[in-house]
Point group: C3
Chain length 171, copies 3
Amino acid sequence: MQGQIFTATRRVPQFREMSWLKLKRAVLVSADAEGGTKLNAFDNALLKAGIGNANLVKLSSVVPPDIEWLSEPPSFPLGSVIFVVLSHIESDAHGKKISAAVGVGLCRNEGGLIYEFSGECDGEEAMETVKRMVEEGFAVRNWKLSELKIAVAEHSVEKNGCALAGVVFFP
Amino acid sequence: MQGQIFTATRRVPQFREMSWLKLKRAVLVSADAEGGTKLNAFDNALLKAGIGNANLVKLSSVVPPDIEWLSEPPSFPLGSVIFVVLSHIESDAHGKKISAAVGVGLCRNEGGLIYEFSGECDGEEAMETVKRMVEEGFAVRNWKLSELKIAVAEHSVEKNGCALAGVVFFP
Amino acid sequence: MQGQIFTATRRVPQFREMSWLKLKRAVLVSADAEGGTKLNAFDNALLKAGIGNANLVKLSSVVPPDIEWLSEPPSFPLGSVIFVVLSHIESDAHGKKISAAVGVGLCRNEGGLIYEFSGECDGEEAMETVKRMVEEGFAVRNWKLSELKIAVAEHSVEKNGCALAGVVFFP
């Protein structure tokens, strides 16, 4: 990252206060589950991941600088509005293997990138895929990768299955 | 619900201020419409539902405690950013019946869950489906269902049709 | 628009403070790119459009009154949460032409509507499509169209391609 992204050489307006919402903490989650319907399987996986009682809003997909990484989701009031980068797949194809992964590439404390992948494959393949995505994202930006975090879930579908992995942000 | 969800026995960090945005009021909406394109049919259904002039952000899908339920959407400034749990389906298959439903399960004033379903079926089937989803969501959490609210829309497609149902949250 | 939308004749509750977030500035963007995967192609197109280092939240799809239109995205801190109306398409079908467009219809300073379209077609067709969508959206609301802004991107897929167009909102 080494300064390039902060030395704005383009002559564009620059505002101090550019955001409505400050992301301060983050946690990697992953889980898989069955359910009576695909949506319930998703819901059950969210519960296992510790974010089933939140109101999730999808984000795409950058880690701000100086994020504090938690080891698991904090407890929060029911229905809290929480921002997530979420990769998930649901399937009702009995016996099929499904996987979801997120890859977080970090550049020391300066921030980073998140890439999602999900598909009908094993967890190993999902991990490899997000790893390659992170590497390309960093190469394109000329950033130096100092840390790679991956969360992955693999599931063998019985009736209605879900695999999910994500990054959850907290204030 | 009976306290289980609030007695956090997991040793996790707990923050007082866990959300950027407070959801205070909510309203159930449903509508169906035709349009010149599928997106316009969706737009027209949003207008009929009273939220066509808002900037909608999708939420997934929990009712916080102590929500005030309104009988219809309040008027609001054009372009207001408003959070919704929205189920919708668009189709250009002439003569096809499409339906969308949301089911809201509540546990007295302690909060609840919202499930969405949409598909090529009649409204009755969509209602039954979200009802089952709510029941499973409550069973999985060991919550007691004290009230079930359902909003449903059914539409017979002429050219480009849309059916939508949702829960809209206001500050 | 001419007042119709502001003279609420429906007897509904009316609140002064109806939004959590105020949208103040906006900019039209468009870009196309290749990438190692479809998601990387999307990421690369976002970078070219000047919003690749933001956390994007999807909005649907109204322009509030008195928006200041910028000529290009301002610089912002890495990972800023930014609201967008985004149309994008990814494809790995070699030689295929893909396009994405957004059309913004404005009624003087009173606000307006945004419509998205993307598909396997040339940019001309994507532009025509969003133009028709804007016209129908205005006709349905009985609004007068005073200005039409269109952003469009066209891309011929090599390996993994993306075309995107959008409206990005800033505080």
